[in-house]
């Protein structure tokens, strides 16, 4: 009952509490329930097709160590190689773009985002075309100048790691450059004033100070590499190299499907990733070395003189390797009847594009992906904004648990989560399996960490007093949310919306298991085309997808910028 003397606090609390409880239940259901099913299935040692399982045991886990050691070994080797390369790329680019006066810095920074839009799937396809043995462009050219044998083979451990690193390199770049930007430039300047050369400064001052940031990035990237799927799928199988994700994929696609083994592998992978990410989070919380600053810094780049052009070349090289060459290779391939780089032998044709566009699945798949992106992003941001507010602004007791739940899907490789969802919805007698609804649910759940993290960054910048003022004026919690908090969050909401939309359209791992005949989405369709059609057709499909996504993004970006301009 509302007590007049304590004012209007209690009814508001009830409204909050109810919403919080509801949110907790829903998120818990979405995030944890599939995992429960996954655990159950991993212990299935009886008939793999029995739903629910009747015989339980740990034989599946034991079998991993007995039979799948090679796969585990492959996974580790590739992940380590890819992480080292990605961190190297990320660190170099971050240093060049935040610490030196390389020409065209802003444009280059923008270009660094491009590989992210390329997606590892398209990148892997492109590199298969560029560096496949015997028929890859590099090898064709080698043969044409008289070489024998192959000088490049992308279907190797190194090849897979290379492609993964190229595309994960941007993530490392963003993380490390954030850490570098927060460093007082005077620390480097004073070293140089003391007479240290630029190289010595970097080694004795910059490197040790960004080390925590770099280590954090390393952990994060390594975790991602363990769960990576696209590159291993496209480049591993022709070379008979299986990693855990592709082995999981494989288990479920044979008859009889070994769901038990797949689940056990998935859970093991999840556990490892979970620990890595816990370490990472602990490291971030401990923070980098504290530096003293009175005023805000204007990071002043080092003068590199003529070297600046060399550094420009390095950045350009990265963009070339990650974006320009792959797109060019795919373009060339998609326009030929039989892919070749020897222009005099090429038979040019538009037939691949005609076929690709006529293939119903391509059109419906693109359409579905975009619809899902729009839907999930729109509904998703609202729910996530609510979640963020509950976690970071409310006083409710359960909010630590909510934060944990919401970040949980990050530790689960998408593929494994897709499998868990498959499993959950095979057993739950609501018939959304094989429909777009299940995909929407899956996307929303896997995007939770991304959206919440983005919005959290914005929320934490809003001065509490702005909201408190509204409450003092008598606004109910809902009214305050609607009239003060949500409008202030608008730029963050738009950013989160765009990110989620992008992520939905590129999604592969979770969708792979959950598609139905009328619920096809684009990335798995490209993968299936790769398996069943020629490279030429697949290249055409991949380019159509990339192009559509970029066009959609540009449009949305313009709209978003228009909307934020209104605010300013």
């Amino acid at each position: 009952m509302a007590d007049a003397s304590t004012g209007i606090s209690r009814p508001r609390l009830n409204g909050q509490a109810l919403t919080t409880l509801a949110v907790l239940l829903i998120v818990g259901f979405l995030v944890l329930l599939p995992m429960v099913f996954l655990v159950e299935e991993s212990l299935n040692v009886g008939d793999p097709m029995a739903f629910p399982p009747v015989e339980f045991g740990i034989a599946n886990y034991v079998a991993i160590f007995e039979e799948d050691l090679k796969t585990v070994w492959n996974t580790l080797i590739i992940a380590v190689m890819a992480t080292v390369m990605a961190i190297f790329i990320g660190f170099t680019l971050a240093w060049i773009l935040t610490r030196t006066n390389v020409p065209g810095r802003e444009k280059l920074e923008r270009l660094m985002e491009l590989p992210y839009y390329m997606t590892p799937l398209v990148g892997a396809l492109a590199w298969a075309v560029i560096a496949g043995p015997k028929s890859g462009f590099i090898n064709q050219m080698w043969k044409a100048v008289g070489g024998t044998g192959d000088i490049a083979d992308i279907y190797t451990h190194f090849g897979i790691a290379w492609v993964m690193a190229l595309f994960e390199g941007t993530v490392a770049f963003v993380m490390i450059s954030a850490s570098m930007k927060s460093m007082d430039p005077a620390l480097e300047e004073s070293a140089r004033v003391m007479g240290a050369s630029k190289l010595r400064t970097m080694l004795t001052v910059t490197l040790p100070l960004v080390m925590p940031g770099v280590l954090g990035a390393m952990l994060f990237v390594f975790a991602e590499m363990l769960g990576s799927f696209a590159a291993a799928l496209v480049l591993g199988i022709p070379g008979r190299i299986y990693v855990i994700t592709t082995a999981i994929w494989d288990s479920t696609l044979s008859y009889p499907p070994d769901y038990g083994r797949a689940s056990a592998m998935g859970l093991s992978l999840f556990v490892v990733m979970f620990f890595m990410l816990s370490f990472y989070r602990r490291m971030i919380r401990r923070g980098t070395f504290t530096t003293i600053s009175g005023k805000a810094f204007r990071p002043r780049p080092m003068e590199m003189g003529r070297l600046a052009w060399v550094l420009f070349g390095v950045c350009a090289l990265y963009v070339a390797l990650a974006v320009v060459f792959p797109i060019a290779a795919l373009l060339m391939t998609s326009l030929q009847r039989f892919a070749t780089v020897l222009l005099d032998q090429a038979q040019w044709t538009l037939a691949n594009y005609e076929t690709a566009l006529s293939l119903g699945p391509v059109r419906t798949a693109l359409f579905n992906s975009i619809i899902l992106g729009l839907g999930v992003a729109t509904v998703g941001v609202v729910i996530m904004a609510l979640l963020v507010w509950i976690i970071y602004r409310s006083q409710l007791r359960g909010r630590g648990a909510i934060e944990y739940l919401v970040m949980f899907p990050q530790a689960v490789p998408r593929l494994v989560f897709g499998l868990a969802l498959l499993w959950a919805w095979l057993n739950i007698p609501i018939g959304i399996y094989g429909t777009l609804w299940l995909l929407a649910l899956a996307y929303f759940t896997v995007m939770l960490p991304l959206g919440v993290r983005t919005l959290a960054g914005v929320v934490l910048q809003i001065d509490k007093s702005l909201e408190e003022c509204a409450r003092v004026c008598g606004a109910s919690w809902a009214y305050q949310m609607r009239t003060v908090t949500l409008p202030l969050l608008k730029p963050g909401i738009l950013a989160a919306w765009l990110l989620i939309f992008m992520a939905c359209v590129r999604e592969l791992g979770a969708s792979a298991f959950l598609m139905g005949p009328n619920a096809k989405v684009i990335a798995p369709s490209i993968v299936s085309a790769f398996a069943t059609s020629g490279t030429e057709l697949t290249a055409a499909m991949a380019l159509i997808q990339t192009f559509t996504v970029i066009v959609a993004l540009v449009i949305l970006f313009r709209v978003a910028r228009g909307m934020t301009k209104e605010l300013q």
Binding site: V193, M194, V205, R300
Partner: protein, 354 residues
């Protein structure tokens, strides 16, 4: 060996369209302590950093010991690490991942000194700033004042001839600042270092400098000794920025006199050749007495407000030449409403340049 350690000639530094330093020239002699003084954005820090090689000027020339380290005409630009000047940063820039010892030893290690030499030099430097007992502590665990001392020790450890100071005391509290000021000056004298010092605190500048350069919006307003700057400000800006002054409007009437807008005739002093277009005289608040003295300008007035500042008392006195601010020793306080005669000598009534 010339007497000039540093020469800056026609220095211009641009940031995009903004001109931060707009044609600045000065020299610094051996062992001199020169201060660049001015409000934020006046270009003093940029000038300092240009000398260090941390800013890229657009034109001009900078020479150290007679050698050009930057010359737009010959496209010379010596890298920071090769200029051999030392610097103390505003944020101290103490490397948190090293110990105090390693911080101070950094410059020595770069110069490849031997281990024994390094130890000796570091200890000597730390002694000079009384930080020897903390030599092995991790640098991230120091207080602000301690970091400041370590920064200083680091700067002098390799016995540089020139040290640049970028507002080194501005992050300290007032009392510490006052103490450190004195210590810094001592150190500089003892070691005979040529120093260029940047600050926005005019008290500091006046207290410890051999010469002061007052800068405003990228140009030099006045160069001179602290006494010159204080007693003979050339422009309204300098009069206003350094110390506190009353500005009286009027017109020069020839022969060392000045007629105020209210009609009062004052005997003034002009440090420059007056050409008749000047409009203001400046009278320092500290130089106004409340008892008429012979030979001085006398202006009747009435005390409107009295504020007790501890070390001095400040009166606002209404008079025919305007509301004058007067600062007197804090004894014999006059009540508000008292009638007084303001008295100031012609030397202290400075005609400002137009």
């Amino acid at each position: 060996m010339s007497e000039t350690r540093i020469e800056v000639k026609d220095l211009v530094v641009r940031y995009g369209d903004q001109v931060a330093v707009n044609g600045v020239s000065f020299t610094v002699g051996r062992g001199e302590h020169l201060t660049l003084l001015g409000p934020s954005g006046c270009g003093k820090t940029t000038t300092l950093r240009a000398i260090a090689g941390l800013e890229h000027p657009s034109s001009g020339k900078i020479s150290l010991e007679g050698h050009a380290v930057y010359d737009a005409a010959t496209r010379t630009n010596v890298q920071t690490e090769q200029r051999g000047v030392s610097m103390v940063f505003q944020s101290y820039a103490i490397w948190p991942h090293m110990s105090v010892f390693d911080n101070v030893a950094y410059g020595l290690r770069v110069r490849k000194q031997g281990q024994h030499e390094i130890k000796a030099n570091v200890e000597r430097a730390l002694d000079l700033v009384q930080m020897r007992h903390l030599a092995d502590r991790g640098a991230s665990k120091l207080s602000g004042g301690q970091q400041q001392r370590v920064a200083l020790a680091r700067a002098i450890a390799f016995s540089p001839t020139v040290v640049l100071f970028d507002e080194p005391l501005s992050n300290l509290d007032a009392k510490l600042r006052a103490e450190m000021r004195v210590e810094l000056r001592e150190l500089q004298r003892r070691l005979g270092i040529t120093s260029v010092y940047v600050t926005h605190d005019q008290e500091e500048a006046l207290a410890i400098s051999d010469r002061v350069i007052v800068m405003n919006v990228g140009v030099i307003e006045q160069i001179g000794t602290p006494e010159e700057i204080y007693n003979k400000p050339r422009s309204r800006f300098v009069a206003d920025f350094v110390g506190s002054a009353n500005l009286i409007k009027g017109k020069p009437a020839g022969d060392g006199t000045f007629v105020t807008e209210g009609g009062t005739v004052l005997k003034v002093m002009a440090p420059h050749m007056p050409h008749g277009r000047e409009t203001e005289v400046a009278v320092r608040t500290a130089y106004i007495g409340l008892e008429p003295l012979a030979g001085e300008n006398h202006v009747p007035g009435k005390v409107r407000q009295r504020l007790f500042h501890g070390d001095f008392v400040q009166y606002v006195v209404d008079s025919p030449v305007g509301a004058m601010i007067v600062r007197r020793p804090p004894t014999n306080l006059l009540p508000e409403g008292a009638d007084v005669t303001l008295s100031f000598s012609p030397e202290h009534c400075v005609l400002l340049e137009a």
